[in-house]
């Protein structure tokens, strides 16, 4: 793994650098020293079996995991001791696995809820052009949307904030193939607009269609890194990791 990492190490410091990240749910030790880097403009996935610690890693980066230790450097700044709201203000936006659409808010209110953290976010019009389905449902209750529309809303609302670094937790989970394709196109467009994305994904075919590199997470550690162009050559190894 260190060899592979060394080969892709860029000249400049990575956008996000996670070192020896440990995390706990109450007393249970879930992350045992996660290490990985994400460069600006990349799409990186965290792959792994259920319970490997992928979602927990995102929560530890975002600060919503109460007990965590190690180092999370973002844009040259150490985040490990900051509360979630300061991490959001530093420019990291989070889309949780359960999507987190608020039922007491309309679609419009859900969309406009996250505050602007820096200049250069997409405008309301840009976002609605990217997700035209939402435009007709703006006054509906947030949770009256279909699962796919809720997922789009969950992504759409963090694009307005100006954060250029997105943590997306399983955005395709439980969605119909046509919606998965639509989300894939959206993520590709976001990449071309300069967003950096860390994607937790079970569906590695989907991951392969948009990602630059894949980190394999097992038992609370990153155990391997596979560049996307070497994915085909490593497919046997990956199947073994994921147990498929």
């Amino acid at each position: 793994m260190s060899e592979a990492m060394a080969m892709t190490e860029p000249a400049t410091a990575p956008f996000l650098s996670v070192r020896d990240l440990e995390g706990w749910y109450d007393e249970s030790h879930v992350l045992h020293g996660v290490d990985f880097d994400v460069n600006a403009g990349e799409v990186v996935t965290l792959l792994g079996r259920n319970g490997a610690g992928k979602t927990t890693t995102l929560r530890a980066i975002m600060g919503t995991l109460a007990k965590r230790r190690g180092s999370v450097r973002f844009n040259g700044r150490e985040l490990i001791d900051l509360p979630p709201r300061a991490i959001a203000r530093a420019g990291i936006a989070f889309c949780p696995e359960e999507r987190g659409i608020f039922s007491s808010l309309s679609v419009e209110e859900n969309l406009m809820l996250p505050p602007t953290v820096s200049q250069g976010g997409l405008s309301r019009e840009d976002v609605l052009a990217m997700f035209p389905n939402l435009k007709e449902r703006l006054s509906s209750q947030g949770t009256k949307l279909s699962g796919g529309e809720q997922q789009m809303l969950a992504i759409a609302r963090i694009l307005r904030t100006g954060a250029k670094f997105l943590l997306l937790d399983e955005p395709t989970e439980g969605l119909a193939p046509v919606i998965v394709q639509q989300i894939g196109r959206t993520l590709s467009e976001l990449k071309s607009r300069g967003f950096t994305i860390v994607l937790v994904e079970q569906n590695f075919r989907f991951a392969a269609s948009i990602a630059d590199r894949h980190y394999v997470v097992e038992q609370g550690r990153v155990i391997d890194m596979i560049p996307n162009e070497e994915l085909e050559a490593n497919i046997g190894k990956l199947h073994a990791y994921l147990g498929v």
């Binding site: 979630p84 709201r85 608020f102 007491s104 809820l113």
Partner: protein, 295 residues
């Protein structure tokens, strides 16, 4: 003069007005409790004591500083609300990781302490607070006399209740508040300062109680027990309306005030218990309350 079911209209409208006045206080107080419960998830048992503090601070401003009713209406909610902010920061905020019962016990204890301090200093006989000169007198409505101050209480309560409803249900700040009620962790992860929002919400809820206290000062005597007497009924109103429901608190507050007034006309013996009978029935049929959302 016509009669309705053998009841003279003066008596009927008189009791309806009294009911509406009581309802104004039920609505303001249960609204504050609902706002606090929604975001903090604690039942603020010191609410009655904070309402009483509102009346006393108005009396003190008038007696010691010559500050009139109208300024008191503005200043007292800020002063008493600020005391709520201090209480939330120093004490209540330490209990959020514990069972809700602890918040209830803490605020209940605070209520006893606050009432004890005021009883010790001012006694229980009650202090007079004059109706402001602009609102003395009454209007002859033809079928009854409406004292100006009582009319003002109803109008002020309706305006403040619906202003609060509007702020919570129809503004961006209110959207943040509703979102934080549902999922504070995620709202924090968007960069919103949820702890500060919780503190200010408690201060606002306490401020509403203090506003009700100022409104009450010229009608009821300013007395350390005035909150304790009222708050039991207000808790029943909150249970009937549905815990945490903003519109439920307002509508139920006014509605039950009127029901209580009508009971005084048609079956006076039942007027003291009618709200509790309704509470029992609502709990049996719709345990989440009339406007409560069942999860």
């Amino acid at each position: 003069m016509f009669e309705l079911l053998g009841i003279p209209p003066q008596a009927l409208f008189g009791q309806l007005l009294l009911g509406l006045i009581n309802g104004s206080f039920y609505a303001l107080l249960s609204l504050g409790l609902a706002v606090i419960f929604g975001l903090l998830n604690i039942i603020n048992f010191s609410h009655g004591a904070q309402y009483m503090m509102g009346a006393f601070v108005a009396w003190m401003l008038m007696t010691y500083a010559g500050i009139n009713y109208w300024w008191a209406l503005l200043l007292v909610p800020i002063i008493v609300g600020a005391s709520g902010v201090v209480i939330e920061r120093l004490m209540i905020s330490r209990l959020y990781h514990l069972d809700h019962l602890y918040g209830l016990l803490l605020t209940f204890g605070l209520a006893l302490i606050i009432q004890g301090l005021f009883r010790n200093r001012f006694g229980v006989s009650g202090l007079p607070y004059a109706i402001p000169a602009e609102l003395t007198g009454a209007q002859n409505l033809g079928f009854m006399f409406l004292p100006n101050y009582r009319g003002w209480v109803v109008v002020a309560s309706v305006v403040v209740c619906f202003g609060t409803w509007f702020a919570i249900e129809r503004t961006r700040l209110g959207a943040c508040l509703r979102a934080a009620t549902e999922n504070p962790t995620l709202v924090g992860a968007f960069g919103i300062n949820v702890p500060r929002m919780i503190t200010l919400t408690y201060g606002f809820g306490v401020g509403l109680a203090a506003f009700a206290g100022v409104l009450a000062a010229p009608i009821y005597s300013v007395n350390p027990n005035m909150g304790a007497d009222l708050i039991i009924v207000v808790f029943a109103v909150v249970v009937i309306g549905g815990m945490g429901s903003i519109l439920g608190a307002i509508v139920t507050g006014f509605g039950l005030g009127i029901v209580e007034g009508l009971t005084k006309v048609f079956y006076p013996e039942g007027s003291a218990v009618v709200i509790f009978v309704i509470m029992a029935l609502v709990l049996l049929v719709k345990p989440a309350g009339l406007f409560g959302r069942t999860a």
